[in-house]
Assembly symmetry: D2
């Protein structure tokens, strides 16, 4: 239903060694890759493959990214990335993300918040020009 | 002088191949590495080595990152990252960044804006606890 | 049994967007992260957590890496990384890796080889000095 | 002159924070990006832009990479990457690389070897099919 917020989708990742820095925690740029992964998994879950979109010449480019880091995540921690569509315009999408630590040091932990973010995407063609979101995305409300 | 904004410092990077994605432009996470590089070069220019700070047990962790992507940067483009200290609190720093394309396809170009950002850092110790910024940073006003 | 080759262990990864380059395939450096991931999963499967080893001051550093790239992997492909211990010395380990594409464009594919590698690790302490492999690793023969 | 080894070309990089790992040294995958950077700078020095080659539909894909890590490099170290063309076939190139630390902790150091490598590239078209190296590369002997 239009106007209703989309439901959260959850993706799990384990923090890779190469994603950590000398502070012994996940580097803040690693989250950017996880957010990207999480929104493509959300799309897949709603029936759209971002890989297919790109093959069809539809690109989604990040235009705005706002990330708040709440607490560190360590190497080998298991994270849940909760993602939901926050806004869909004619040629724009905005998602909300929450990243929570669910396993640390081999033990289950209670879902401590490590970061939260809002990221906006603009739809454009291979020529870089803006274009409307494809119908399948608008139908699914699920990018 | 307290309250006066710090001057801009400029760092150059050339976009690496591995920093680009299938859209044939610099991936949005690559900018995060450039911002980090730019603020450490700003610090170095003001007389403080971030590497020395870490060796002394003083860590600067990113707590908030807001990035607006204005236009794409291509592989092999030369970028200027303009950075200035925007705010310095007792245990926090905030920088402003502008990234401009100054060479593209082997030709000088006029400094098209590719991204701008505001990033906040919190000062903490090895134990992850907040601590005041070291005196040398506060004296230099230059992180 | 000493001298007997260790069995293959299989880890799955899906190629992330940020792991691909303007050729529209996984960048060759992305495999290096996957090999690292695969050997830590092999270790975990054999009962040893690399994270625990590091907390105990035991580091495994890469000393030699030989990778042959056989065919490209695309964004969103699902890969299987087959890993086995190839040699274990007093303070050294060597693993073999084969990376195969098992899903591409949303369809199962027959396991086309995309890369194979041999990587050697040296065991050392926090001071960077060589040290014998810990007993648990030698017992498990499973790093 | 045919058969004569090409001269060494030197590129400098400073180790970025995000290129280091919890061992507090440059992660072994970071070198892979530096080798790529170094060979494109060698090409540029010999008069060929790899960016231009790609725009003309000529791709150079890594087919074999052999890296020996000799000693660690730390965050903020300045490295020299010495690169030379080792072999040029009809559709293949092979380069040699040596990476040396020339500045560490803000002090000049004597060029300690941190890694050396041999990397082979195959020339192919946008379709992934092998194709002969372009004349300009063969003329320059400088890729």
């Amino acid at each position: 239903m239009p106007g209703e917020p989309d439901q959260w989708h959850t993706t799990r990742v384990r923090v890779r060694y190469c994603e950590c820095d000398p502070m012994n925690v996940a580097h803040h740029s690693s989250y950017v890759a996880w957010f990207e992964l999480a929104r493509t998994e959300l799309m897949r879950n709603r029936g759209t493959s971002y890989a297919d979109l790109e093959r069809a010449g539809v690109l989604l480019m990040v235009t705005h990214m706002d990330v708040r880091y709440r607490s560190p995540a360590a190497y080998d921690d298991v994270l849940e990335i909760h993602t939901r569509l926050d806004h869909m315009g004619k040629a724009r999408l905005r998602h909300r993300y929450e990243v929570r630590v669910v396993e640390s040091g081999g033990e289950a932990v209670g879902g401590r918040l490590t970061a939260e973010a809002t990221i906006e995407l603009a739809c454009c063609g291979r020529d870089g020009r803006p274009r409307p979101l494809p119908g399948e995305l608008r139908a699914a409300r699920g990018v």
